[in-house]
Symmetry: D2
Amino acid sequence: MATTFQLPIRIYWEDTDAGGIVFHANYLKFFERARTEWLRSLGLEQQTLRVQIGGLFVVSEMQLRYLAPARLDDALVVTAQLQAAGRASLTLLQEAFLRGSTPDASAQLLSAATVRIGWVDAQTMRPTRIPGPLLEKISPCFNPHP
Amino acid sequence: MATTFQLPIRIYWEDTDAGGIVFHANYLKFFERARTEWLRSLGLEQQTLRVQIGGLFVVSEMQLRYLAPARLDDALVVTAQLQAAGRASLTLLQEAFLRGSTPDASAQLLSAATVRIGWVDAQTMRPTRIPGPLLEKISPCFNPHP
Amino acid sequence: MATTFQLPIRIYWEDTDAGGIVFHANYLKFFERARTEWLRSLGLEQQTLRVQIGGLFVVSEMQLRYLAPARLDDALVVTAQLQAAGRASLTLLQEAFLRGSTPDASAQLLSAATVRIGWVDAQTMRPTRIPGPLLEKISPCFNPHP
Amino acid sequence: MATTFQLPIRIYWEDTDAGGIVFHANYLKFFERARTEWLRSLGLEQQTLRVQIGGLFVVSEMQLRYLAPARLDDALVVTAQLQAAGRASLTLLQEAFLRGSTPDASAQLLSAATVRIGWVDAQTMRPTRIPGPLLEKISPCFNPHP
């Protein structure tokens, strides 16, 4: 069972829109930040991967639900949890929670996404296999021959 | 059968990322622009709706597929097509195409989304019924008693 | 005397913030779009310049004034006017106007910027001379030996 | 002498552009985040100010210099330092540094800005006096009758 990576994110003016709430597209930025920090927590820096291995992850599919709005100054926790690892793509569950105002208050789910990211060649942007050593760091339990 | 609204969109530096392609979250901006211009083409300005009727549309669900990347200076056409109209929400199919470099060249599908937008009260942000006159402009064939 | 290039820009949800107005950083996007379209009007596509000449323009200095806010659905005109052309940089005056609601209404100045852009090598990002043929297209009256 | 507030900021995909560097407009977001956290460090939450006092700070002028680019995964420190406090506006010096890769490495200045923010009425967006108790928290040494 994969652990759930958590990243605290603060809501700034840049994130909001004239409706007084966080603009819906900006949750994709929050989810991306959480994926990036999750990879960094595994020792994987994407700029380094791109230069040294010549590949990068790109989003290929996403299912999104927006349940409640966030507002200026809100403190969020955004998660990333690996759901499945294939030879050329990974699937993650990602959620954005509003942190309760007291330590023991339960967090409120604001948005949830299932995100599929594929590994592509940095030059051609074509899908290609995730390099073995990279996949091992991401998914130690991955079994290519189940 | 609903017609397909089309909006031309040019790719600028702001839309791209260090991968050399359009950052995936920015397609949600393009889709939102197309929904806004589709509403405007029906005589509906959202700022006016908000002030006069006290409500606004917010995205509640989205399914996204990314098929091919767009790059700086690319000319896109982004569509909005009403798929279903309910009492409190609308569902649209939206697609982003890369315009062919010649008039008779076929356009390439870059990204597709099914988007559900709900009508909410501007103060409480709670879902509420789309006002009748508004729904009639959006969906002349809508039948509340099928 | 350089002519003034004009680009119409519509304000969308993505441009606004919870103050109900256009987020101040987004005017820099509008000014950039106007510079890009001004260059395109001179036959210069930046993606092509980067691939074929190996250089790009980057902003090196900017003085900004914000005079009045823009809001959702507003129709703006954003300008670009060459003020000075040096061997490695250009200086432009750029302004954002709110279009009057009637054709003969005068436009209101919302924001003004003096922008210095420098030509840099795409690999090293170091300042370098603007290639002669490029400078001639941008500034036909440029005199390197005044 | 005002102290310098510091905020660490990480560069994500969303911040970069196809030039491989941080898009110039995004430094304004970083500077805004630092101003917001500086105000928060003084006990001032802007959402609360807006609801309770009915006012907000907006940027009225900015002078910007871009000295060196930041890239994906870079770790920055962004500062905010009060330079002057008037009755209706504040002036801050803000700088963005690239953190050295070792603790004792000196940081590199990437961008610097002088920012003037004015206090406006949240309804009319017109400039108005900064409320006394607010100004006292921001600028304890402010002398209205020099």
